[in-house]
């Protein structure tokens, strides 16, 4: 069987498919390049382009702003990493509470639903204000005053309600016959969740989950309203010096540079492990 050699017909088919794939890539590449060039020429020849380039895309300004903005980004990253752990834990707990069945758990479901509704509905900025300015204003003994801590708490409260909904979607999408099979083997409710439902649920919602972490990374900057300096705020401070917006673009590129490897890696792993679809079929 290993000595199988494709027939002439099959070789012709393979060649045909390759030609088609190559042609479509070619068309795509050529048309993209043409489009890009056209857009570039079009934008480059507008009367305002030199000013826009100087204001948004000044390489020297970018280079100067880089260290400061990168330092701000470091705050985003730290806040994001620490909050992400708490958010996953709390979000998962809320999602589990919401998917409990039976009238006994009615109050828990109501609690989780109310939490999600309120913290998802409230603008993050308001939660940050309330916690970041409100709590320290209470002058409680022994409670920390630091802006980062209360800002982080606000992020956790808000994002855990988003993540809870994402997990819930995953949990509800697992067919009930899977639970039945697990329980029939004697697994408890917890074990069923842990070994059967959640592994399937989490895989299915990886893309929206990543959505939330990418936007957490960016929103972690909102705690800047409490007076700490994140990447965007650093860019703003730089911009104020000479009214040049390039530092913002630098911040944006840094964010994208952070996000892309994360996304590509997750996608790669997911596809390799067959988490998405059935992979590869022709239909």
């Amino acid at each position: 069987m290993t000595d199988w050699q494709p027939s002439a017909l099959q070789l012709e088919r393979i060649a045909y498919r390759q030609r088609r794939a190559r042609r479509s890539t070619l068309i795509a590449v050529v048309s993209s390049v043409v489009l890009l060039v056209l857009v570039a020429i079009g934008i480059g020849s507008t009367p305002g382009w030199p000013r826009v380039r100087a204001t948004f895309f000044d390489p020297q300004r970018a280079w100067e702003a880089l260290p400061v903005v990168a330092e701000g980004l470091w705050l985003n990253i730290r806040v994001m990493l620490i909050c992400a752990v708490l958010i996953v834990v709390i979000g998962m707990a809320l999602a589990i509470l919401r998917t409990l069945r039976g009238p006994i758990f009615f109050p828990l479901r109501v609690f989780a639903a109310a939490y999600t509704d309120v913290f998802r509905g409230l603008p993050l900025l308001l939660v940050i204000f309330l916690l970041g300015f409100g709590v320290p204003a209470l002058r409680l003994q022994g409670v920390p005053n630091a802006a980062v801590i209360w800002g982080g708490a606000a992020l956790v409260l808000t994002y855990s309600s988003y993540v809870a909904e994402v997990f819930r979607a995953g949990i509800e999408s697992v067919h009930p016959s899977q639970r039945a099979a697990a329980r029939s083997l004697g697994l408890s409710y917890r074990q069923t969740l842990r070994f059967v439902v959640l592994p399937q649920a989490v895989r299915r919602v990886m893309p929206p989950l990543l959505n939330d972490f990418v936007s957490l990374q960016k929103d972690s900057g909102l705690i800047a309203v409490l007076g700490v300096i994140d990447a965007i705020r650093a860019a703003q401070l730089e911009t104020a010096i000479d009214f040049n917006f390039t530092p913002y673009v630098v911040a944006g590129l840094l964010f994208v540079a952070l996000t892309i490897p994360l996304t590509r890696l997750t996608d790669y792993v997911a596809r390799r492990q067959g988490w998405y679809g059935g992979g590869g079929g022709p239909v």
């Binding site: 826009v52 204003a137 309203v225 703003q236 401070l237 104020a240 009214f243």
Partner: protein
């Protein structure tokens, strides 16, 4: 005040080049003036730039009059701080928003002559650890805040070199809130705003003192114009005229409290 270097951008050629009908305004017969919303005391009054009260409002009307515009011909519009200096066509003829003149900024916009020589000050609340500071050096250990995008922030960083990172806030209101919460030891603001805050916003506010002028230069607030605007020269002329005839000094006396703040050494 030292000689103003900004008026040289484009000197009007003839004497009547600045006549009302020759002015390069967006819409003939009206003067479109931008400022942010909310408009803060003591530069404006009651968040209403059109009432002629508050220093910047009053100066604007005085300048308008010099250029030959009636009060009713001055049209105010809301311009967020960021869009005042964003590239591209502007809808306003000039913007007035406590913007400090600097050579760096001149790359992006035009400035008129300065209409106010500004000093930065540090304010705090009674009982704070910097309440009795006498010198800049004593402020270095304090946690200070300032509004983002202002020269208060950059000047303080440069002069005080605070050991803890300074906290930038979107608005001075937020900085005041943080000061009340003891999250800050002091706020750096321009002196007139500092007087206003200690009087109106803080229960036990206190001016610590004025910062020395940074690197010997006098900081000035100027009107912001579109880069290469044809109006810049005439506007500067008007401001200079108001300065020399004492109008600006009178208006400062009327609207801005600046007396009684100790100098920090």
């Amino acid at each position: 005040a030292p000689e103003d270097e900004s008026s040289s951008t484009s000197t009007p050629s003839g004497a009547d080049a600045c006549a009302k009908d020759k002015l390069a305004v967006k819409t003939a017969g009206t003067l479109a003036v931008g400022t942010d919303k909310p408009a803060y005391e003591p530069w404006f009054s009651n968040d209403d730039p059109a009432n002629g009260k508050g220093y910047e409002s009053a100066v604007t009307y005085a300048v308008a009059k010099k250029l030959g515009f009636e009060t009713a011909e001055v049209k105010w519009q809301t311009v967020p701080f960021n869009s005042a200096f964003a590239p591209g066509p502007k809808k306003f003829d000039f913007d007035v928003n406590q913007v400090s003149i600097s050579e760096d900024r001149r790359k992006a916009v035009d400035f008129s002559s300065g209409y106010y020589d500004v000093r930065q000050a540090v304010i705090t609340t009674a009982g704070s650890k910097i309440a009795n500071a006498k010198s800049v050096a004593e402020l270095a250990d304090a946690k200070l805040g300032a509004q983002v995008g202002t020269t208060s922030y950059t000047t303080a960083e440069e002069l005080i070199k605070p050991k803890q990172k300074m906290a930038p806030y979107d608005t001075n209101d937020l900085a005041v809130q943080a000061l009340k919460n003891k999250q800050l030891d002091g706020i750096v603001v321009d002196l007139p705003t500092g007087f206003y805050m200690t009087a109106a916003q803080l229960d036990d506010g206190k001016i610590v003192g004025q910062l020395p002028a940074s690197s010997g230069q006098v900081e000035q607030f100027g009107f912001v114009l579109e880069k290469g605007s044809g109006l810049t020269g005439c506007l500067s002329q008007a401001v200079d005229a108001l300065k020399s005839d004492g109008t600006l000094a009178n208006l400062q006396k009327e609207y801005l409290t600046t007396q009684g703040a100790p100098e920090l050494s």
